[in-house]
Symmetry: C2
Subunit: 217 residues, 2 copies
């Protein structure tokens, strides 16, 4: 499809193509104007998207690229990698740029989703022992610090490229997000002894005999 | 099923029943030992789970209760609500308490998942205009502050119940989470003018003519 004309299904339809946010994210990776291989896209996602949205697998990236090219939002071509191998490079089309811009200004913004498995376990702290909770929290604290360090390095790495001013802003947000996550884990670790003592004394989950289920017919 | 014996599929199997975290969360709501109606469970989830994991609908709660009762992890009975209506009350069984405790100490902890739709839009800021970004960020900032206030109120409300020491700890964590989320939005709003100026000057997304897609065969 020629890049200099919007495909009819986009130009004429009042509807945006029904794509999941992950498709828009992959199209977004290409919207910075560079021609990228699947390997580059995975690397770029690991440098940016993973901190606040999504760490895609290769198969997820290729799946999205397949959908996007079928809609004329991306194009691809095969180039010689070396004297033995070729590689396929993907680029956003004008239709892709126009559609992404429409999505960014017209589609309702997804409310942030948080599924915090570590806090789910802490909330159920009465069902396990404090040593396990402490180990889990400590591991979460250390993982958060590792993520902070990576986000900081990627924010630094994007500093020289003015076209990446927004990604850099979000990477700086991410650096702070994981610093805050680390600090909240430290604060919780400091509270854990006191709380586990209180919980031990009442421990509803430890006394199933007292659970209403016991009394039910 | 009698509550005082583990059902064979749980007592004898080395495997935990294959349930999604949402099932464990609903079982967790009952693990504090009270007999609850579907309406109570929804209310309890909105007071706790919603801040860090899940804001279930009634149909999701009833779906999980159906699975849990089939496995003998919960039981239910119908009681008279008033002279016209009945209601069904749900309780965790001993098998449910034992299985939840096994899950809490044996199942691998889910790594936290964040899908931040607002940051995804910010990251693609070059595809829309700064006024839209500012309005979106301001709305996100205000929603975060509302969530902080609710989490603070629920943490306060759970203070008198020693059996809720862990939920209170997580609600205090949630209060801080949304305060941090609010503060990061404020910091980003303060940076937005500078960043949008830089982005305007380069604006890769605004010049599809320069996109490699244009040059591809």
């Amino acid at each position: 499809m020629a890049d200099d004309a919007l495909p009819p299904e986009i130009a004429e339809s009042p509807e945006l193509p029904q794509l999941r946010a992950t498709s828009w994210a992959v199209l977004g990776l290409l919207s910075f104007g560079e021609e990228l291989s699947g390997y580059d896209l995975k690397k770029w996602a690991d440098w940016s998207l993973r901190f606040f949205y999504w760490a895609p697998s290769f198969s997820q990236i290729y799946g999205e690229l397949h959908k996007l090219e079928a809609l004329g939002l991306t194009s691809s071509r095969v180039v010689t990698k070396d004297d033995l191998r070729n590689k396929r490079l993907y680029a956003i089309t004008e239709a892709g740029q126009a559609t992404l811009a429409r999505w960014a200004s017209e589609a309702p913004v997804e409310t942030p989703v948080l599924k915090h498995g570590v806090m789910l376990r802490m909330w159920l702290g009465h069902t396990t022992d404090p040593d396990k909770l402490r180990a889990m929290l400590t591991e979460h604290r250390d993982r958060s610090e590792k993520m902070r360090v990576r986000a900081a390095a990627d924010a630094e790495g994007s500093a020289d490229e003015p076209g990446w001013a927004y990604p850099q802003l979000v990477l700086q947000w991410s650096e702070r997000y994981y610093a805050d996550e680390r600090d909240r884990a430290d604060a919780m670790l400091a509270d854990l002894d006191r709380v586990s003592r209180i919980a031990q004394e009442s421990a509803p989950g430890r006394t199933p005999g007292s659970a209403p289920g016991k009394a039910s017919p």
